[in-house]
């Protein structure tokens, strides 16, 4: 085959996708970067002016936005380890030589096909206030009657944990599948060799399984961390950021800025902060994965 220049054909094939990416991802992103330094408001008659870092100064002195940022961080700090541990436990259980694991795998993965808005609606019923509420009744039963009924979604302390729980329910199946694929790609010889050397199950877990699973684990934690910063649907449907900003998030504040106050520029500044966070998390993950490659 001659190494001819296939530029015209290639452009024909690639142009629709490249045009789409340029118009609907790159352009809006650059627009967000630019608008973040202006004072643009939707429908405002005043001319748009450049205001430098004013929007960033404002959002970082805005108590609501800082609370949102803290909520996202707290959400990530709790959900990422818990959800990863649960997904790992599920994957390890399913990786045993047992009959019927496909049925269990299907059940654990099932919540993933539920749209988050539907999950939020169902769990609002589960969190119904009063002793008749399902979660209240369950906790009363488990605590032998010591639990007093709470209105989870209107309780400043319990609202965020309540949202965390349903997010874990919906998301752990996704992670489980990725970790299970990782487990199944660990060479069997490693375990056979270890067994011959007299390593017990616990030793095999800590010296073979977990080190071999390092990259899938890092990937899964990265994805969950980014999801934690994207948190929006559940909050918008269940609590609207309340009570007293207990469940507000960066995305919720961003959408609020646009819709209730028409502050496009301010929302763009928030989006830029959000992007920088995601960038930092991704960079951290790449570094962690690379380190491991250098070691092996």
């Amino acid at each position: 085959m001659q190494a001819s220049d296939q530029t015209p054909t290639a452009l024909m094939l690639a142009i629709p996708a490249l045009l789409g990416l340029a118009l609907f991802i790159l352009l809006p992103f650059l627009t967000a970067l630019a608008l973040a330094f202006t004072d643009l408001r939707l429908g405002s008659p005043l001319p748009v002016e450049l205001v430098g870092l004013e929007q960033f100064r404002r959002i970082f002195s805005d108590a609501d936005f800082l609370r949102a940022l803290a909520n996202n961080l707290l959400f990530a700090a709790v959900v990422v380890p818990l959800q990863t541990a649960l997904a790992l436990a599920l994957a390890l259980l399913l990786n045993q030589r047992l009959r019927g694991t496909v049925v269990f795998r299907t059940l654990f993965f099932m919540p993933v096909v539920f749209p988050m808005s539907l999950v939020a609606v169902i769990w609002t019923l589960i969190y119904a206030p009063g002793p008749n509420g399902m979660m209240n009744a369950l906790l009363t039963l488990l605590s032998f009657g010591y639990w007093e009924a709470h209105d989870f979604l209107r309780d400043p302390v319990l609202a965020l944990p309540a949202i965390m729980l349903l997010s874990i329910w919906q998301g752990s199946g996704f992670q489980m599948v990725i970790l299970l694929a990782g487990l199944q790609s660990i060479p069997q010889e490693l375990y056979e060799g270890a067994a011959m050397d007299g390593a017990g199950r616990r030793q095999q877990l800590f010296h073979i399984t977990l080190p071999q699973l390092r990259n899938p684990l890092i990937f899964v934690m990265l994805v969950t961390t980014i999801l934690a910063f994207r948190l929006f649907d559940q909050v918008q449907i269940m609590t609207r950021g309340g009570p007293d900003n207990a469940t507000t998030t960066v995305m919720y504040e961003t959408v609020e800025a646009v819709f209730t106050r028409q502050q496009v520029a301010r929302a763009c500044a928030m989006a830029v902060v959000f992007f920088l966070l995601v960038l930092a998390i991704t960079w951290l993950q790449r570094r962690l994965v690379r380190q491991q490659r250098e070691v092996t």
Binding site: P16, L35, V121, L125, F219, C268, A271
Partner: protein
């Protein structure tokens, strides 16, 4: 002795799996069974075991959903929007990936690196300026605004690219010597040999867009082009609060997807596992 420990271990494993399965299944059962009950009884019985017993089951709530909301319209909106994104996305992104994986052209590597860089941009970071643009163009409350921006997808291109690069070149070269053009090669040789990656991309983008909430919430105004996820949130806040109806709405919304998922669960699992190969 040894077989007793083995049996005991198995019993323990099955108990753990069953307990977890019940926890995962409970919200689904609550929805399904609640949807068959009289509205007033759903909340009253929620804290008792009756939540899982559909005494005096009826389909009244389902009839009420159709009476109180435009369910069919929302459902078809969702099917149309998601279907359009997934099918055109498969075509557009696989063609671009093929150009990156197999053709020699100027600017290829630079552009491909740019595509890879775009993968880390989450939609949330561009939602506001995109919304601003859509509003300026007067495209709010249209199907177009819900479909067009999501067809080209950097991650889909990357998944296709990784698959195509691993295909043996021999068939394509033979076809090229026989005089077949690039498009012909793509459709007659690459496509039939790439079913797994097409299935993975289709499933991943289906899951993303079928449940998408933020964007349709921002751009739709009335019910005419509204998809299911936004519709159920609206139905949920529509007074009076009738839990039986809400759960019937939810059941109808998720049932078709659950059926497809159970039929093709192997493909779903494979598709999701494939999403992790990056990095």
């Amino acid at each position: 002795m040894k077989s007793t420990t083995r049996a005991l271990t198995q019993l323990l494993l099955y108990s753990a799996l069953t307990l977890l399965a019940l926890l995962f299944l409970a919200p689904l059962m609550i929805m399904l069974i609640g949807s068959l009950k009289a509205d007033a009884r759903v909340l009253v019985e929620a804290g008792t075991l009756s939540a899982f017993l559909p005494a005096e089951a009826s389909l009244q709530n389902y009839a009420d959903v159709f009476r109180r909301s435009d369910f069919l319209r929302f459902f078809l909106n969702s099917v149309f929007i998601t279907g359009a994104i997934v099918t055109s996305g498969l075509l557009v992104n696989s063609l671009a990936a093929y150009a990156f994986a197999r053709l020699q052209w100027r600017g290829r590597d630079l552009l491909f690196n740019l595509v890879l860089a775009l993968m880390i941009l989450p939609f949330e970071a561009i939602a506001v300026p995109l919304f601003y643009g859509v509003s300026m163009l007067g495209l709010r409350d249209t199907y177009l605004a819900q479909i067009l921006p999501f067809i080209a997808n950097a991650f889909s291109i990357y998944l296709f690219y990784s698959f195509f690069i691993g295909l043996p070149k021999a068939f394509e070269e033979a076809a090229r010597i026989d005089g077949a053009g690039t498009l012909r090669i793509f459709f007659t040789i690459i496509l039939p040999n790439s079913k797994p990656v097409f299935a993975s991309v289709a499933i991943l983008s289906f899951l993303t867009w079928w449940g998408s909430y933020l964007w349709p919430l921002m751009v739709t105004i009335g019910p005419s082009v509204r998809p299911l996820p936004v519709a159920i949130a609206g139905f949920f806040t529509l007074p009076p609060l009738l839990w039986g109806d809400i759960l019937a709405f939810g059941t109808m919304m998720v049932a078709p997807v659950l059926v497809v998922f159970i039929m093709f669960q192997r493909w779903f699992v494979r598709g999701v596992a494939a999403s992790a190969i990056k990095g």
